[in-house]
């Protein structure tokens, strides 16, 4: 149990010294996961909202499928992406294997179902509240879709964070398609796996501490960005009531 105190020290000194290599790994982790989550949002949110609003044959199958894909094993995703991107695979000519792009592709596949499924859930609830009003105003489902996403924006942040959490913490897929190449595709999780395999448990645990720190940082940032939302909440009405708040005007 010596490791824990040691790991705390390691994590602390890593953060304090702003170790260059650590900074590089952290930046890559953040970049890959942010871009992956961004792409998953662009695709997944309209998809989830569409599944909530439109009814069409086979919709239930897609929903069940999407919900099950939330638990997709990263290693399987990694393997599939590897087979696709391998030089001997169908997309081999692109030469994307062992690049950050390959890691982004794998993470998008992992994160997309989470964001789409959670979005669907949020939009379904909102739609049941909004449907009559929007239809009465004359909105078509295609017009309702962006309205619901925008009005659900504060709840949707949770979906984004869930996706980001999965992306940044995932190791199996990025290890296979990224290859854990130093300075190129080494991210926090693969670095941790490497230190474990070197038997340097204290350093691995220290890196884990940094990863948690990072995760807390992103969540805190999201909370701060999201904070004006609470003013919109009827519960907080008394404090806001008739005070000149200038926010999200038009």
């Amino acid at each position: 149990m010596i490791e824990f105190s040691e790991a705390f020290g390691v994590a602390f000194s890593l953060l304090i010294s702003l170790d260059h290599e650590l900074a590089e790994i952290v930046m890559l982790s953040l970049s890959v996961s942010l871009v992956a989550v961004f792409i998953a949002i662009i695709v997944g949110m309209p998809l989830g909202a569409a599944l909530a609003i439109f009814t069409f044959p086979g919709r239930k199958f897609i929903i069940v499928g999407l919900n099950s894909l939330m638990g997709l094993p990263p290693v399987v995703v990694g393997l599939v992406v590897y087979i696709l991107l391998s030089r001997s695979g169908p997309l081999g000519v692109l030469g994307l294997l062992f690049t950050p792009t390959a890691m982004i592709i794998a993470q998008v596949i992992l994160v997309l179902p989470i964001i789409a499924a959670l979005t669907r859930q949020i939009v379904v609830e909102l739609w049941s509240e909004y449907e009559e009003q929007l239809r009465s105003l004359g909105a078509t489902p295609w017009q309702a879709l962006p309205t619901l996403l925008w009005d659900g924006r504060y709840s949707l942040v949770t979906a984004m964070l869930a996706g980001f959490g999965r992306a940044i913490a995932e190791v199996g897929a990025v290890m296979i398609v990224g290859g854990n190449i130093d300075h190129v595709t080494r991210v926090m999780t693969t670095a941790i796996a490497l230190e474990v395999s070197k038997g340097d448990l204290a350093l691995a645990l220290g890196l884990g501490g940094v990863l948690i720190f990072l995760s807390v940082g992103v969540n805190a940032l999201a909370y701060l960005i999201n904070k004006p939302a609470s003013l919109n909440n009827p519960i907080n009405k008394p404090t806001l009531f008739r005070s000149p708040i200038k926010e999200n005007v038009r």
Binding site: S31, R87, F98, P100, D182, K198, G199, L221, N248
Partner: protein
Amino acid sequence: MKRFSPVGLLLSFSLLLLASLAQGQNYITLASTTSTQNSGLFAHILPQFTRVSGIEVRVVAVGTGQALRLARNGDADVLLVHHRPSEERFVADQHGVSRQDVMYNDFLIVGPAQDSAGIQGLRDAVAALKKVAKSSAAFVSRGDDSGTHKKELGLWQSAAVEPGADAGAWYRETGSGMGATLNTASAMNAYALVDRGTWLSFKNKGSLQVMVEGDSRLFNPYGVILVNPQKHPHIKETEGNRFIQWLVSPPGQQAIAAFQINGEALFHPNKR
């Protein structure tokens, strides 16, 4: 709208960083083993090569079996592994171009200090394994088709012991890398076969100690192979050859010899 600008800022920064990484033009991909990676050898020698050649070497460290598969698929330019029969078959099958000896070290049998099988100090690895099997002392195997795993299976064969499912609970396969296997052995107080490089740099030994060393059957040679550019046109032949030539040239060989931990060399170059 204003509140989304920090996110946009972060995102554009990320894209910029990734774009700059994708720019890395002059590099080769080296498929190699966890033993060389975990020992720290690459971190020691590769910067020296990059300095003289301007070529970056991107190492994908996996088991020898998987490294061979990666190379066969054309996903690496150069292969550096340690299982001679597999390497020779690889070249014979036209997947690679001529194999060259680079360096060697040796395998060790390590085990817990209490040594319930009583093999410490033996020089005969096969006899030692027989004793381990006989006493049913816990033994942890890589079980991952790596060079070390293949070597271990060869030794069991010489000992006329058939490990595996029916061997009993004393034989455990981790199915993972050298480091992970040593972590398991350390936690279980089990015996294990390990290459000297990984062993010397490994930091979580616990009560594990060297039990058997010095047997000629524990010899562990590493070979380097250029993946056949005729099979995979995108293989960076010139850069790959430059790396191989450097590796077997005096500067490369000296760099390997100079990599030591506590005054002990982890790998011995083939040519001095």
